[in-house]
């Protein structure tokens, strides 16, 4: 058929991303000569299943979602991923944080060092159980850590989602911002969220970015939902790098020919220089990505995501 269907996850489905979506659609449409139809959903599973069940050509997903989708249908493949500032895949990553309120950070330290042991029996806030950086990655390291103790030998992901097993209470923020606010407003003691997701609202106050012990402050005048927690500070007890999110395709639907055309346009220089997709740093324009260096999209192979795949098992 002559339509390319592109599925967007809830995170990218907002009005503020509309211009980026439309621009990507326009460029793909020009490259392939086909109409692009954007499909938005508020439901994460529906988005994945749409791609898996041959109802969509193209999607921008999380790493974890890609791995799941690929497991269920191997026609789902990566097509491109955003690089880091260097313009290569070497730093094509962001960070999954475990954060605690600065005032309470000492409770989580043992001999002056942060210790994961201390998060047992606390109130913990994840993003949602489908999030890569807001659940999968932190959960993997937590399970890794605790399963070495006899008491928690059979700890599973499901246990982490339920109050009363490892954590006294488990919360889901439903978004990275939500998870962060759970922490800052005192509803949770520890929270997982990712660096890029909150960068508009916080600034580094102390220490080195994305390292243990770094302290961040919520900016004055931060937008909702941070408006109620202005000036509050939190400390990172852990920052784990996570591979950037891929654009993915369903090969059975899109076909080799279009795959190549789309890959070409996504990884082109014009694409990287399009300000509607890569907003220049400091501009107050909303876009899918921001550009602070040589960021662009590059082709990526399936194996690149093996680390995530291994983590899931």
């Amino acid at each position: 058929d002559d339509v390319i269907k592109m599925v967007w996850y809830p995170n990218e489905s907002g009005q503020d991303m509309k211009s980026s979506r439309d621009e990507i659609g326009r460029m793909v449409s020009e490259a392939t000569g086909k109409e692009v139809e954007h499909q938005l959903t508020t439901d994460y599973s529906i988005a994945i299943e749409t791609l898996v069940n041959n109802n969509a050509d193209l999607a921008f997903t999380g790493a974890q979602a890609y791995v799941e989708a690929n497991k269920r249908n191997d026609a789902v493949r990566t097509i491109a991923v955003k690089t880091g500032e260097s313009g290569t895949l070497d730093d094509a990553m962001y960070y999954s944080w475990l954060a605690v309120n600065k005032d309470e950070q000492d409770k989580f330290k043992e001999n002056g060092e942060f210790s994961l042991d201390k998060i047992a029996d606390t109130r913990f806030s994840f993003v949602s159980n489908s999030s890569t950086s807001g659940f999968k990655v932190p959960a993997a390291s937590i399970i890794d850590h605790f399963s070495q103790q006899d008491e928690y030998a059979d700890l599973t992901e499901v246990d982490l989602m339920e109050s009363g097993t490892l954590f006294s209470q488990v919360l889901f923020g439903n978004s990275h911002q939500g998870s962060a606010v759970n922490l800052l407003s005192g509803n949770a003691d520890v929270a997982a969220f990712c660096d890029t997701c909150v960068e508009d609202y916080v600034e580094l106050a102390d220490g080195e970015e994305n390292t243990e012990g770094a302290v961040y402050t919520v900016k004055e005048g931060a937008a909702e939902p941070f408006n109620t927690v202005e000036g509050k500070e939190f400390t990172l007890m852990n920052a784990t790098p996570v591979l950037n999110e891929p654009f993915v395709v369903n090969m059975d639907v899109i076909g080799q020919e279009d795959f190549e055309k789309v890959q070409e346009v996504l990884t082109s220089v014009e694409f990287a220089n399009n300000e509607k997709i890569f907003a220049p740093e400091g501009s107050d324009q909303n876009a899918l990505f921001t550009k602070s260096g040589d960021e662009r999209l590059l082709p990526v192979e399936d194996e690149w995501y093996d680390p995530i795949r291994e983590m899931a098992n």
Binding site: R72, S128, S130, V158, M161, L171, F172, N187
Partner: protein, 261 residues
């Protein structure tokens, strides 16, 4: 009435049908809905269901946990419905034509019912979730609000329908307002009301899935958890337990209804 007005009412039927058809057509344009396409996918949908939504031995391990959550949800629904019923009883008595105290209170009662019924449960859940956090109370309140709206309306109708004549008779004996309400209106409408309450318990267990997803409580939360993990076997199990519970509640309430009505 004469032949002309009868013709007119024929025309009214035709016009009514035309309006419905036009609206249907407009709606499908706005939403780019194609009924034929939809129908065509039903076999595929059934195919997917049978291949994915199967309870496996592995998923059965999760049963104890699921049952616990299901119990929480069932209790939550019952509590929300029962307490809502008490509130609705007052609103219903105030709102009904036959038993109203004055017009202001009557309109007020109807207004409350209408607002709480019409604000979507999604909106209530979201608002409550922000302030109450993820716990049963949030789910309880979200169900409670919607139930009050629905039951009040149902109660008002039951009272209106049932009691005009006995209210008149008791007024004539010199009975007071509360005596009339307590001894004529309520006994007469009680079976109908209980029937509505049972209906709502069942509806709420089902709604609790949605509310649970939104507020992170009860079986809805469990459903959402497995659903987001794409663990459809477990989803099937959760659904099955909900189905069984709802059908059981339905059977019980049908029995009760048959005996009391």
């Amino acid at each position: 009435m004469n032949e002309k007005t009868m013709r007119k009412s024929r025309w009214q039927t035709v016009i009514f049908l035309l309006i419905i058809i036009t609206l249907t057509y407009l709606s499908s344009i706005i939403t780019s809905f194609s009924f034929a396409d939809g129908l065509a996918t039903i076999p595929e949908a059934l195919g997917w269901m049978t291949s994915n939504l199967m309870v496996t031995g592995e998923s059965l391990d999760k049963l104890p946990n699921i049952l616990e959550k299901l119990a929480e949800t069932t209790f939550m629904s019952i509590a929300a419905t029962t307490i809502a019923a008490v509130v609705s009883l007052f609103l219903g008595v105030l709102g009904s034509k036959t038993t109203k105290v004055n017009n202001f209170l009557s309109v007020f009662a109807r207004f409350i019912a209408s607002v709480s019924r019409n604000i979507p449960v999604v909106a209530w859940s979201l608002v409550l979730l922000i302030s109450f956090g993820q716990n049963s109370v949030t789910g309880f309140l979200a169900l409670f609000v919607g139930t009050v709206g629905f039951l009040t309306r149902a109660f008002i109708e039951s009272i209106d329908e049932a009691s005009q004549s006995s209210v008149e008779a008791l007024t004539a004996t010199g009975a007071t307002y509360f005596q009339i309400v307590g001894k004529a209106v309520i006994p007469q409408c009680l079976p109908q009301m209980i029937s509505w309450v049972l209906f709502m318990v069942e509806t709420n267990i089902r709604n609790a899935t949605l509310v649970g997803i939104l507020t992170g409580t009860g079986i809805g939360y469990t459903f959402d958890m497995y659903y987001k993990m794409l663990d459809y076997n477990a989803v099937a199990l959760v659904t099955l337990t909900i189905v069984i519970t709802v059908i059981m509640v339905d059977l019980i309430s049908n029995y009760v209804r048959k005996v009391i009505l």
